[in-house]
């Protein structure tokens, strides 16, 4: 049986752990609020961009089918898999569920007779893939808890170039979509080719009645050329959005992980306090028994 001193030391160390996890929870909560604000800040931009793309698409007419970034390829030999993870751990299953989905997707791609080409954002994903002996065509890190648009552009440069230069025929992205601080869902989406239908449909309804009363605008350059330029931008925004959602999810996941760590430490402290009290009581009982026995001897 552990002595009182040992138990007391363990309680003290759990209390220290609890202080740290509680502080980490508070930090994550503050960062989560900031990340949520950044998602909100992107929305007006993304909406306006979609409306512009939809307008250019409706004025470009059938040309839209000839934009390489919107064209599905009949034969897929290489499929890019972009994993969006975090630079740091201590966030529950946040990183591992992304890597797991990625590996599953790669197995599926390989069983379809194509090869997976890996891209990873976040140190955790990079090191997991490297550890598994996968070669990375692009790796990006150092920003995951506070991604900027510039970071999304760097990833966009890599995957869009790979697609247009023929290194990959399709790109799938896997990231933690932000549902709530308690709930992050590993989500897979096709990044490239972008869906022509989605570009056209965006802003429909409102685009319809706008068009009726609005004169055909002047275009610089021509609508189909402008659309060609808009689509990569649209894809970069999708990547930025995934990075932001992943960042919010990361803080949410860490907040939840740290909260349960704090609770677990609390339970352990309670159990140990109970054990310590029991040990102390046992010692007292023992001493009383000894005194009583001693008194019996004397009597």
């Amino acid at each position: 049986m552990a002595t009182q001193r040992e138990v007391r030391n363990r309680i003290a160390s759990f209390k220290n752990i609890q202080k740290i996890t509680r502080a980490m929870e508070a930090v994550s909560a503050a960062r989560l609020r900031r990340a949520e604000k950044r998602i909100a800040a992107l929305r007006p931009y993304a909406d306006a961009l979609r409306r512009m793309a939809a307008q250019a698409a409706s004025d470009a007419g059938p040309e839209i089918g000839r934009i390489p970034l919107l064209a599905t390829r009949e034969r897929e030999e290489h499929v890019g898999v972009l994993l969006i993870t975090a630079d740091r751990g201590l966030a529950g299953a946040f990183n591992s569920q992304i890597v797991r989905s990625g590996i599953q997707l790669a197995a599926q791609i390989e069983s379809d007779g194509a090869r997976a080409v890996w891209f990873a954002s976040g140190r955790r994903g990079i090191s997991s893939l490297t550890f598994r002996g996968r070669e990375l065509a692009g790796s990006f890190s150092g920003y995951t808890d506070r991604p900027g648009y510039r970071d999304a552009r760097r990833i966009g440069d890599a995957v869009i170039s790979a697609f247009l230069d023929g290194a990959v025929d399709r790109v799938e992205v896997i990231y933690n979509a932000y549902v709530s601080p308690l709930n992050q869902v590993a989500t897979r989406a096709t990044l490239l080719p972008a869906s022509a239908a989605a570009v056209r449909a965006a802003g429909e309804g409102e685009a319809g009645d706008h068009k009726a009363r609005r004169a055909l605008p002047e275009y610089e350059p021509e609508p189909n050329q402008l659309l060609r330029e808009l689509v990569p931008h649209y894809i970069e925004i999708s990547i930025y959005r995934a990075l932001l959602e992943s960042a919010a999810s990361e803080h949410g996941a860490r907040m939840t992980a740290m909260r349960s760590a704090t609770e677990n430490a609390g339970e352990l402290i309670q159990d140990l306090t109970l054990a310590m009290n029991r040990a102390r009581q046992a010692e007292i009982t023992q001493q009383i028994l000894e005194v009583v026995a001693g008194a019996g001897e004397l009597a």
């Binding site: 950044r38 800040a41 992107l42 007006p44 931009y45 993304a46 306006a48 961009l49 512009m52 307008q55 250019a56 900027g148 648009y149 510039r150 999304a152 552009r153 440069d157 869009i160 170039s161 247009l164 230069d165 609005r214 004169a215 055909l216 605008p217 002047e218 275009y219 610089e220 350059p221 609508p223 402008l226 330029e229 808009l230 931008h233 925004i237 930025y240």
Partner: protein
């Protein structure tokens, strides 16, 4: 003579850079420099890295280092969607210089006619344009 004012909004993916009334917007499209006054004809244009000037009045001119993007003019409103819009005095020379160096290196190593090379060329253009703005700003 004061010009008529019209609403102008400058959005970046990281948030709103400007949203107020202006007398004139001056920027650069693929065809060259363009100035937008009130009641300009509807326009949808691609923008190149340049100095974006927003004239609140003849004497008050806001100057930004503006990245690539798009501009829509409709119903006498200007909406600019740009990758970045940084007040010129906040530009980071060291960052721009390293970006220029990276772009030059990429231009050396990427194959001709590749998308990777085209993107490196755009990165170079941005870095050089912005570095030029810092130079011009220092001389002011």
């Amino acid at each position: 003579m004061p010009h008529t004012k019209f609403p102008c909004e400058v959005l970046t993916p990281e948030g709103e850079a400007f949203n107020d009334e202006v007398e004139q917007v001056s920027t650069r499209t693929t065809l060259g420099l363009i100035g937008i006054l009130a009641n300009h004809a509807p326009l949808l244009a691609r923008l190149e890295p340049t100095e974006l000037r927003l004239y609140r009045s003849d004497s008050e001119i806001l100057r930004y280092a503006q990245g690539e993007g798009f501009m829509q003019v409709a119903d006498s409103r200007a909406l600019l969607l740009v990758g970045e819009a940084t007040p010129i005095e906040e530009l980071d020379r060291a960052e721009l210089e390293s970006s220029r160096a990276r772009a030059l290196q990429l231009l050396e190593t990427t194959p001709e006619d590749s998308e990777a090379r085209a993107r490196a060329a755009r990165q170079l253009k941005r870095a050089e344009t912005f570095l030029g703005l810092i130079g011009a700003d220092a001389r002011h």
